[in-house]
């Protein structure tokens, strides 16, 4: 297995001692204070003062009724969007110092979307390799890493299949592979098992939790499923844009 914390701390010369990992070593992954976010010119209050602490290596389930702001919170934590108000620290570093967010995200964050969102015209291997396109890696390293990841997810036989031709479960597995390929220390998943049958859902969950166990990565996972939430270290419930 090429993905333990040691190889992760000195791999391809780009992500050595990233801010996040420094923070992770101090034991903090996410600290959020009073996060607010509204849409449509303030008409829709998606987040209304969210406080949240997540320790490094912790796996957290985020649940709550539909529309309570789970996806919005996830997008703020992954720096996909900016809060209107509030403070956010990732690995002990204020989020404002982590912009532009893309290089930071490329090096530290893996996201599994509710819908797989693979690029349909690319093969599984090409989709999985996408996050590596922004890294300076040799072609060979890239290929080896993709092969290793597909092996881990038992997707080798699908490597050269176009994403559009995969089954629903295979797509979501490929999406997990894409999320893990950059060896992220922070994993976000938005109902990753929502669109697949329960057996495949269990496989996906096992892979995500296995990754965290193997590498010490932190996972925040949105789910409506009590059984899945039960497999996590802790469950946080939201309501109307706040922690309950």
């Amino acid at each position: 297995m090429n993905a333990d914390p040691q190889t992760r701390s000195k791999p391809d010369g780009e992500r050595e001692a990233s801010a996040l990992e420094a923070g992770v070593r101090r034991g903090i992954a996410v600290v959020a204070r009073g996060l607010r976010k509204s849409f449509d010119g303030g008409l829709v209050r998606a987040l209304d003062g969210v406080d949240l602490n997540v320790r490094a290596g912790e796996t957290v389930a985020l649940s709550g009724p539909t529309g309570c702001g789970k996806t919005t919170l996830l997008s703020l934590l992954a720096l996909l969007d900016e809060p209107d108000e509030g403070e956010l620290e990732l690995g002990g570093v204020p989020a404002t110092r982590l912009r532009p967010a893309e290089p930071w995200r490329a090096a530290n964050v893996g996201i599994v979307f509710q819908l797989h969102h693979l690029l349909p015209h690319l093969t599984v291997a090409e989709n999985v390799a996408l996050p590596l396109a922004v890294r300076t890696l040799s072609r060979r390293d890239r290929r080896d890493r993709v092969a290793g990841m597909l092996d881990r997810l038992a997707l080798c036989h699908r490597a050269d299949t176009l994403a559009a031709k995969l089954s629903g479960g295979e797509r979501q597995l490929a999406a997990v592979a894409r999320a893990l390929i950059a060896r992220p220390a922070l994993l976000f998943a938005d109902e990753p098992t929502g669109s697949v049958d329960s057996a495949t859902g269990q496989v996906i969950l096992d892979h995500l939790l296995g990754w965290c166990r193997d590498t010490g990565a932190t996972l925040v996972l949105v789910t409506h499923d009590a059984a899945i939430a039960g497999a996590m270290d802790r469950t946080i419930t939201m309501r109307d844009g706040r922690m309950r």
């Binding site: 996909l80 996201i111 819908l115 969102h117 015209h121 396109a133």
Partner: protein, 370 residues
């Protein structure tokens, strides 16, 4: 580059449609501008075709076809001196079988102009006979050669020879004896234009001044520029320019629309790329490369496409003798270059909107459904 290429090659149907859209716009530009320029060039070439030094036209006439010069004032030309040769030309248009708009040139076999005509088959005209020389283009298109007959205004004329000038409008018509033409078109002894050969071509200026002073109602122009004295040309030129602007507009809007749709379909895809760590610049470069490739490909396809359309119009199958005379059979290098430049310009302008759309994509949208 790789990603853009893959995006194009792996979605061949969309790529073909997009390229076709760009090509159609560039093709429209080349055809519109090419035809207008071709028409102008044909018209201008008439000037020097007859190889005379001076040309007389009726003052105030709007085209060679409605210039009428009565013969009496022309008698005064004898007093001018320095004139080595006088050639009268009577122009007529007739509907004949196979050509609804057939140009006829009436020339006197005894005057120099007919002698300049290169006869490629048969012989030249005999004075006063009901004979005709057919232009090479007309001969091919009408399928009539020496010995054939053509009815002009209910009079049967025998084709005795075929000429070629290299001028498509003239080669798409026929040459008659001057007297026959005047009879057929009720011109009495009037002619349309008179071409003068001077003993001393360098003295053309003073000769022109003397003619203007003595012969009433006549405009004297040097052979190189008599066509320019027609206002029609200015109208055509303005119209050509208007067409070019219109074509450019069509091209830009066409390309913009095609690229906009092709990028708009993929905002979700671009949001995902942003979410997995592609920076805005990278996404923009990806889209720009794609637009650039599509534009270049479209321009490349547009050239043979336009050539093919011209070929079809020039062929007996789709075209007529008139289009064959006035439309260029090929695009000039200049128009091709212009078309490619316009396509690239249109691509550049057209890519602006989709590019803006691409860089405005919010990575957070990747978390939301398509």
């Amino acid at each position: 580059m790789n990603a853009a290429l893959r995006s194009l090659t792996r979605r061949p149907r969309r790529t073909i449609l997009t390229v076709a859209g760009v090509a159609a716009a560039a093709c429209a530009y080349m055809l519109l501008v090419g035809s207008a320029q071709g028409f102008l060039a044909q018209f201008r070439k008439l000037s020097t075709l007859f190889g005379a030094d001076l040309v007389l036209l009726q003052a105030g006439s709007t085209s060679p076809w409605n210039s009428v010069l009565p013969v009496q004032p022309l008698a005064k030309l004898g007093e001018i001196g320095d004139i080595a040769g006088v050639s009268r030309l009577a122009l007529g248009k007739a509907r004949i079988v196979g050509a609804p708009f057939f140009l006829l040139f009436g020339l006197d076999p005894a005057e120099p102009l007919l002698g300049h005509l290169a006869i490629v088959r048969g012989r030249t005209l005999r004075p006063g006979a009901d004979e005709m020389l057919l232009g090479s283009l007309a001969a091919t298109r009408l399928g009539i050669g020496c010995g054939g007959e053509i009815d002009v205004r209910a009079r049967r004329l025998r084709v005795v020879g075929v000429y070629r000038t290299g001028h498509r409008v003239v080669d798409a018509g026929g040459v008659l004896d001057l007297a026959t033409t005047q009879r057929l078109f009720n011109l009495h002894d009037a002619v349309s234009l008179v071409f003068l050969d001077l003993a001393a071509p360098s003295a053309a200026g003073s000769a022109a001044a003397r003619i203007t002073a003595r012969v009433p109602n006549v405009v004297v122009a040097s052979a190189g520029e008599w066509v320019e004295s027609y206002g029609q040309l200015v109208v055509v030129e303005d119209f050509a320019r208007f067409l070019a602007v219109l074509a450019l507009l069509i091209a830009v809007l066409g390309v913009a629309n095609v690229l906009h749709v092709s990028v708009g379909e993929r905002t979700q895809e671009l949001a995902v790329l942003r979410a997995i760590g592609w920076r805005r610049q990278r996404v923009a470069a990806h889209i720009l490369t794609e637009c650039g490739l599509v534009t270049l490909l479209g321009a490349a396809v547009a050239v043979p496409m336009a050539e093919l359309i011209l070929l079809l119009i020039d062929s007996a199958w789709l075209g007529s003798l008139e289009t064959a005379g006035f439309l260029p059979p090929h695009l000039s290098g200049g128009v091709i270059l212009e078309g490619i430049v316009v396509a690239c310009l249109a691509g550049l302008l057209g890519a602006a909107a989709p590019l803006l759309r691409a860089i405005r994509v919010r990575p957070a949208d990747a978390l939301r459904g398509a």
